[in-house]
Symmetry: C2
């Protein structure tokens, strides 16, 4: 039915965000609760079921008024079976069954995908992606995640690793990544990567720079501090941001050469550095893209912030109804 609503859930290690949306992706109700990761995360799914049923009571709504529930989850997601394994920030080490349990507990069809894919769908639908058929999303956080929409559909690949943009190799002789290989984009352009590059460049830096002073004094630095100092003109911080931007622009250029999306949308904590970061990224992007791609694929900042998760989760329901 056209006026059916959708529930979007953004499941994270600290909070679970919920929203009720209409078919146009407009949020009509929203709420959230803390994530209880005690007892191997065994309270999480019952909490979600209770929260949904409780809020349907409050709003005097019935399960039949919903076309589905969509959820973005950390960990390794099996979309067909609706299971998750290895979501360590939820304490979900063993296989859990969100689809089976939430459908039984709410009587609403349930769809699930990983959080980066879901955020990609959200930004594409209602954010910087302008609802175009070809949009790539990259999120620069503690790690780097990604999601690719092509021909209006999310890509998963043969074993669910499509969009692993954080593990694109940008420097084959570079830092060892947690994934076991060297020189992944994540090792240099995630929040932790930026700090790693800063520490390494500081060691070899001979001049005077505030960033070097902070590091030499043993201060905790963050990627935000590095970007803030670069914006103030600190020479070492500028060199760090230039190097990080180069790697990011190189990786996004080859994604552009391969996929030629309308937009490559950049989100996540590191993207708070804004156009200051993107302007530098665009230089390396232009150097490394085929002319038609350089002219037609645009790099943009994400616009939805925290809401990308619930909106994208809701669009997962529409995505699955296309099948």
């Amino acid at each position: 039915m056209e006026d059916q609503k959708i529930i979007g859930i953004d499941l994270g290690g600290t909070s679970i965000k919920f929203a009720i949306l209409n078919q146009e992706g407009e949020i009509q109700q929203r709420w959230s609760q803390e994530t209880n990761i005690l007892d191997e995360g065994s309270h999480i799914i019952p909490d979600i079921i209770e929260s949904i049923n409780h809020h349907l009571d409050i709003y005097d709504m019935k399960p039949t008024q919903f076309s589905g529930i969509g959820m973005g989850s950390p960990g390794s997601v099996d979309r067909e079976n609706g299971t998750v394994i290895g979501a360590f920030n939820l304490n979900w080490k063993q296989l859990v069954y969100p689809k089976r349990d939430i459908e039984a507990g709410t009587h609403i069809p349930f769809y699930i995908d990983n959080d980066a894919n879901v955020a990609a769908l959200g930004e594409r639908w209602k954010g910087a992606g302008d609802n175009q058929p070809d949009v790539t999303f990259v999120t620069l956080g503690t790690g780097i995640g990604g999601g690719i929409i092509a021909n209006d559909r999310l890509l998963h690949g043969v074993s669910g690793s499509a969009g692993e943009i954080g593990h694109v190799t940008v420097d084959p002789k570079g830092y060892l990544c947690t994934c076991g290989k060297h020189g992944c984009l994540e090792t240099v352009a995630s929040a932790t990567g930026v700090v790693r590059v800063a520490r390494d460049m500081a060691e070899e830096y001979a001049g005077t720079a505030k960033l070097k002073e902070l590091l030499d004094a043993g201060e905790e630095i963050s990627s935000k501090i590095v970007f803030d100092l670069a914006k103030e003109g600190d020479p070492l911080a500028t060199a760090v941001v230039d190097r990080v931007s180069y790697y990011l622009g190189f990786a996004l250029a080859n994604i552009g050469n391969t996929l030629n999306p309308s937009f490559i949308v950049v989100g996540g904590g590191v993207s708070a550095a804004g156009e200051f970061l993107l302007d530098k990224v665009r230089v390396a992007f232009a150097q490394n893209t085929f002319p038609n791609v350089r002219e037609n694929t645009k790099i943009r900042l994400a616009t939805l912030g925290n809401e990308a998760g619930v909106i994208g989760a809701a669009s997962l329901v529409l995505e699955n109804n296309k099948d």
Copy 2:
């Protein structure tokens, strides 16, 4: 109708190949003719129309017995409008109208895409792609072309450049490419690229090697000669093939990290070097891929040879009937 036939056309600079196929992609008739590129290629489309109508007469078939004609073409193809521009090996410098003219001349619906995309569809459907939903194809010829099928659909991107694998940057400080940027895969791993790498490495090579002798004697060398000498153990030729394979493996690894296809199918003249080449490519691919991709995305040789074009062109008809 299920028993309708399809006509596949592979339009090239020296010959035009035709085939009549059934809906399962089995070739039932085939013929070809020389490409007449005189008079700015103005004879090509009339020749195609005449050839089709002539062969339908011979086989006593009517236009209504065909669900469509598919054609792969060089140049820049506008799929929606069915036009081509800048196909220099056909002398088509100006805009030509294959769809308009061939539909008017044969009364059969006509679909067109560029030759690399069409070959990708062919290899995916009846060749090394095992008809999987996610298959990437790369063709190593005079240049390097590519085509990407994801979620069962060919990718084009916002401006038709999806799959420009030849212009993935593998060495930002590398050779200048015809496209205007530096270090494109095509500059080192196409047939001409292999020879370029050989000439450059020979200049710096101090030892004794047959390949160096040939080059020093001013002999014409080809990529085939380089691979043949490497297979015989020639040290310089081996070093050249190792470098070429490294770049190819690096580029395919990042395509794997981005798309996680079932297969990356390698075709074109240079792929005649066979498993000798692919085994080396797989080393660099393994070094630069995320573990899940390394385990699940396989590199394979193309199997259809010259027939990929007509088979893929035919599948273009099926592809378009999905819309």
